[in-house]
Symmetry: C2
Subunit: 636 residues, 2 copies
């Protein structure tokens, strides 16, 4: 038997007998890794740990830690679920059962169950997991599929189409009785799936088409340990309490309406938050040398042909025809900024030019996936494009990271980690430029002591990028900011500057968004703070409650003084008990609640508490104004 | 001969012999009026001064002062022009020659002239005016028209269509040889047209259709006196110097691009002005109890069916289809505000609710009429809708007039007059409500000592309105703000509030815009100030010039201090002469130009002058900061 050479991600090389499996290799690295191994990447291709390896290869052991590992794990859970259904409901016919962003689902025909049936099904799944049966791959011909899935027209239909398109058919067997048509890969055996939970029953149409048969869709989630599952369930419960759609309604922040799916209507309270975020950014822009521009919303398709969006993105754009010309609503600002850059001649001395825009964007998301502020059709990005020389990239990225930190960490108390995606196999531009840029990005990330990882080959064809994954107060992760280098836009739009050498050069373009979509960010902020916003961005800053009719006038006067100082204040002079007024103001999330009675009138003072019942007691009006001003201006 | 009774606009009644003409009546009032009379309104219908009046009637003598008088005057000038052309170019065939917003034009076929021919034509026109020939009306049958206009297929074509539609044909004769098919009325005789000028030759298609023959269009202007014409010409020259398209380019305020006709691209300097206007309004809104909302851009056609726009305004909307549903870009905000009002239950105590919106609107103006910022497809209004009780209308209108004054007069130095348009014959709602509202509007206008006039019957079918005509620094008038009462929207959208009586009532809706379209207003501001903006709204506030290399660092330091205080400042540290730097800064319209040399470095001071060369001399830095802050915050 000859040996093969395998190279691990740390670039170390190891000899293994030809025909060894990924699991063998994982074992040779360590027992822990062998236990955690869910699949193997062989030269970038994801396969089962059981698959023999017969040639030299780059090898990576895939565990639950990676997104691919999670997908394999949850997809295998879907198979275990289908196996249990086959045992409990032999009439049911399974169709497709993929892993999704959060967990998995499986669509069945003839499965008349409700969530009340979950315990029984989960119990059967546990038995299957306890049996620790192997998941084994079989390559099949179409005829074999037709024979094995005789009673499931869905599987036969899919297999026929797949084979017709030239695909190689495969199926996975668990134990002796269960087989599912599937591309794989899967976890080594059912014993891996230590903890799972079915979460919801829904309806779905076969192939998503309302003309087809309605199927039963069951959602579920799974983890390698009960502890992780428990944490997930707790986080979900907490997230539900903080659901921005509910809080948005309760605090009068925004509404949705069927007449404009996916476009938020912000009430005054929501607009306060929106405008405060924009003001924050404008202040930063002013100090950091950005220029804000305003661009049109509707553009001739010629622009999108030039930018490439017409070819690659048209299905996501809203189209309209005017005087026989085809136009579309812009899904992003970059092409219009390129036109503005091009409107002037530029010298190397003027660079970088940092063009920011709060323009309204529209992206045609399917109405089915729209929900609250996190999936919308109309959005506003805190978008900017930095036109710079290659030698300025480092300083520009550094500036962006500084702004990111100021906003996310210092101001809102998020944490984050970043992902750097590097040159893909098929790329555009000069390798040397790519290399220099990637080294620069890594250097800046390290200098700023940022937790990051590299996704090799995952960059766009036109440049490397940094994605920012922000962690909120209940531990959920959101992909928000992006920083994308672009070596292509300047070519496409023929953008030039005159260098120190008197010759024309192409600028590097950096696309970057700090908050991403303001709508989505506001949705996340609502959940991050559970509606208890910091004072500066809070739509409800100070509520002034009169103890009695007698002090109503004084309450009004306090509010007048506060509003003159631009504090968002309101009175409550109703003839209710002060206790009731305080409770209501707390539910409405007023940061400061001020009570004024006879004593306060006499002393020209106010009695101050917070929405969380921290009692500050009696303050002079000046002290109140000073405290509020410092807290608001400090944006903390 | 019997007498008839005529009633004049002052409601006085006078006896006149039956068959008297409008001119006779004007003479009986006074010789001056008889001289100025251009036409007569008989029971609201505009007719020639020569027409016999045979029944009791309401009579109004129309002079050049009224818009209708101007139209008659200029339309008659177009006839005089055509008469001159007929004498000079017998082959030319006249088509149509209307009065337009500014002057008149006349389209001719087979008229191969250039502007070099104007003096000859104007000389001939002067002869016709000097002959003071009467303009006489003839009623004709179609056959007579065909006979008289044998050689002009255009006139025959128009007459045939008009007759087919049931119209009564008429023509006007001047002198013996000139006759034009025309509805009239016209001035009494050519002698009225004391001063005129041909301004431009252009091309136009017959009936505006590029498939038809191309005609020669000649534009002209006319006035009852040479003095008025001279003033007009001077104003035009001044206006051309101030053309916002030219200044917009020179000061880097905005650009237009063929990829988005009618939508401005604002450069950073233009955005500064835009944002300062919005900030000004937001400050006012905060103090005046408005709530700002944000609404979607794209709405299902169901909304427009509900609002009536689908029926009446569809041709002006950009349409788009998504998932088989028809949508359109909003041309105005009102319907979305109605949806937001409806989202909550309201009590009489909460009214008025003042909902403001800076949303992006789109109106499908023909590309041919687009130009600069004054005719655009994409616009942003400083729009608000006030939902109030009828008894609150007075206070609300009063508040609006106060804001109008603060903005136009106190801040920008415009003057204005207003027009109140009252109940038309066909109207909706309760006469008593209309009467009360109209009386209220008049009362508020008078209380505020505003110059206004009433346009009886010119209101919308759903409510009376006030239009604001603003006069700029070179005397031109712009229709900008509007205040429109609406007794219909609450019906259409079923808007309700609970009254003090516990019953449901419909609110009155007041639509109002102060600046109108911000884009258009910025265009007008540019021309009003000829680019010399007040400090607070100026994109270029302070330029700091170093005398030599040695003081460059100090100049940078001054700019840093200024920018920290949010002053828009820039250095010029180039190795140019200080004279050249000052001249360039003046051309760039920097409000303050600061020179720093050795003396200033030594004294920690600055040497201050304005763009208009007012020399302030040496100031301490603190004095500079204080002066700027006061001027900026004062918004003057």
């Amino acid at each position: 038997m000859t040996d093969i050479t395998v190279m691990l991600p740390d670039e170390s090389k190891h000899q293994h007998p030809k025909g060894c499996t990924g699991l063998d290799i994982a074992r040779s690295i360590g027992p822990r890794l062998a236990k955690d191994a869910l699949a193997i990447k062989v030269n970038g291709e994801l396969v089962d740990v059981w698959k023999p390896i017969n040639e030299d290869a780059k090898i990576e052991v895939v565990t639950f830690k990676s997104p691919e590992g999670k997908d394999v794990f949850r997809h295998s859970t879907a198979h275990v679920f289908a196996y249990a259904i086959q045992e409990l409901y032999p009439e049911a016919k399974n169709t497709i059962g993929p892993a999704v962003e959060e967990g998995f689902y499986y669509d069945f025909d003839d499965l008349p169950i409700t969530e009340a049936d979950f315990p029984k099904i989960e119990a059967r799944m546990k038995e299957i997991v306890a049996r620790d049966e192997r998941c084994l791959r079989h390559e099949l011909t179409l005829d074999e599929v037709k024979q094995k899935f005789l009673h499931n027209k869905y599987k036969v239909e899919m297999a026929s189409e797949f084979a017709l398109a030239g695909g190689k058919l495969s199926a996975y067997q668990i134990g002796e009785k269960f087989m599912d048509l599937c591309r794989g890969p899967h976890v080594p055996s059912t014993g891996c799936i230590k903890a799972f939970k079915l979460t919801m029953v829904a309806k779905a149409y076969w192939r998503g088409d309302a003309k087809n048969r309605q199927l039963t869709r069951v959602y579920g989630i799974s983890f390698p340990s009960q502890k992780e599952l428990d944490e997930y369930i707790k986080q979900r419960e907490e997230a539900e309490k903080r659901d921005h759609r509910r809080i948005g309604r309760e605090l009068d922040l925004f509404m949705m309406h069927e007449f404009s799916p996916g476009s938020a209507f912000f009430f005054a309270n929501g607009v306060v938050m929106f405008n405060e975020l924009v003001s924050f950014l404008r202040d930063e822009y002013f100090q950091r040398g950005y220029e804000e521009v305003m661009t049109p919303v509707v553009f001739d398709k010629q622009l999108w042909e030039l930018s490439g969006h017409w070819e690659h993105y048209r299905q996501n754009m809203f189209l309209t025809t005017v005087e026989g010309r085809e136009f579309s609503l812009k899904p992003m600002n970059c092409p219009s900024h390129a036109l503005m850059f091009k409107a002037h001649a530029h010298s190397y001395r003027e660079l970088p030019i940092r063009m920011a825009d709060f323009g309204v964007l529209h992206r045609n998301e399917l109405s089915g996936v729209l929900g609250g502020l996190t999936r919308v059709r109309k959005l506003t990005q805190d978008d900017a494009h930095l036109y710079c020389r290659l030698d300025q990239v480092e300083e520009e990225i550094n500036g962006i990271l500084d702004l990111l930190k100021k906003l996310y960490v210092d101001t809102f108390g998020f944490t984050y980690r970043m992902e750097l995606s590097t040159r893909p196999d098929s790329f555009l531009g000069d390798v040397k430029v790519w290399d220099q840029a990637e080294v620069t990005l890594q250097k800046v990330l390290e200098k700023n002591k940022i937790e990051y990882r590299i996704n090799p080959g995952d960059g766009a064809f036109y440049g490397p990028k940094i994605d920012v994954h922000v962690r909120d107060s209940i531990g959920r992760s959101w992909q928000l900011a992006t920083v994308q280098l672009d070596f292509n836009q300047a070519e496409r739009f023929d953008l030039l500057y005159e260098g120190q050498d008197g010759k024309k050069h192409r600028p590097v373009v950096i696309h970057r968004a700090i908050l991403g979509s303001l709508e989505r960010f506001i949705g996340i902020l609502i959940e991050h703070f559970a509606g208890k916003f910091p004072l500066w961005i809070s739509p409800r800053q100070v509520k002034v409650l009169s103890v009695s009719e007698k002090t109503a006038h004084y309450a009004d006067e306090i509010v007048r003084i506060l509003r003159e100082d631009r504090v968002r204040a309101q009175t409550d002079t109703r003839a209710e008990t002060i206790g009731k007024k305080i409770r209501e103001a707390q539910l409405e999330q007023w940061n400061y609640i001020i009570v004024v009675g006879d004593q306060e009138v006499a002393n020209k003072s106010v009695n101050v508490r917070t929405r969380d019942n921290v009692i500050h007691g009696e303050w002079k009006i000046e002290q109140l104004l000073k405290t509020l001003r410092a807290e608001i201006d400090g944006r903390k």
